[in-house]
């Protein structure tokens, strides 16, 4: 099973500079474990205490995973996953 995962610039230190990598998994959670196995350190940047980090966005086929089950979102062969850091900040 192959799922393409698009990696944002700030996380490419974990993928040897690659913009996209392939991974496998029937759910987002399983996919992240598979990513971690090949690109150690990535999981910590995506998850915090077992949940997706508040300021990391993950999309499956253009849907924000928060709307389709979060880490339980189901994945199948050929799905496109995109990781993007939130663009956010504030004066406090």
């Amino acid at each position: 099973m192959a799922i393409e995962v698009r990696i944002p610039t700030i996380l490419r230190t974990y993928t040897g500079g690659e913009k996209a990598v392939t991974a496998a998994g029937g759910s987002l959670s399983a996919l992240i474990d598979d990513l971690e196995a090949n690109h150690p350190g990535l999981k910590e940047r995506l998850l915090d205490g077992g949940d997706l980090r508040r300021f990391v966005n993950v999309y499956v086929n253009d849907e924000d995973v928060r709307f389709i089950g979060g880490l339980d979102a189901e994945l199948s062969d050929g799905d496109q996953v995109v990781v993007l850091p939130a663009v956010a900040g504030g004066s406090r």
Partner: protein, 149 residues
């Protein structure tokens, strides 16, 4: 150093003034690796707040897909502070996710008095934010960006 054309500079300031007292935000995209801020994209502040800004997650994805299609990257990421100086806050630094971008901070705090726009100055400053380190840089405003090398 950030080199930016006058029209884009003015448009960023106008956006910040228009959205005051909420924070305004957006990017200026340019060809990958060019360091040329060419295409201004004003974003909606999904937080709609005077002390916080965040791009809507769906609009964020659309923005990046459009940039990837055009072989662009965010050359400038800008937002406004409406009651404090144009310097990155701890939140700004912690959330800065584009190590290659110029982070532009605009402050509208001196532009407005309690009874409205007093045409005071708008502060416009630029920074690099990499691994939690903030480095201010000069801003050069030109009539037009130089021809592509």
């Amino acid at each position: 150093m950030l080199t930016i054309d006058r029209a884009t500079y003015d448009a960023i300031v106008a956006h910040a003034v228009r959205d005051h007292p909420d924070e305004a935000c957006g990017i200026v995209a340019g060809p990958e690796g060019s360091d040329r801020p060419e295409r201004l994209v004003e974003m909606v502040n999904a937080a709609g707040s005077p002390t916080f800004y965040e791009f809507d997650s769906t609009e964020l994805l659309e923005l990046y897909k459009e940039m990837w299609k055009r072989d662009e990257e965010p050359v400038v990421v800008y937002h406004s502070h409406t009651a404090t100086e144009a310097y990155p806050s701890r939140t700004d630094i912690g959330l800065a996710g584009e190590p290659g971008a110029h982070y532009v901070l605009v402050s509208t705090r001196d532009r407005f008095t309690d009874d409205g726009n007093n045409d005071g100055p708008v502060e416009f400053r630029s920074y690099r934010i990499v691994d939690g380190e903030v480095t201010e840089e000069d801003v050069t405003v030109v009539d037009e960006l130089p021809a592509r090398g």
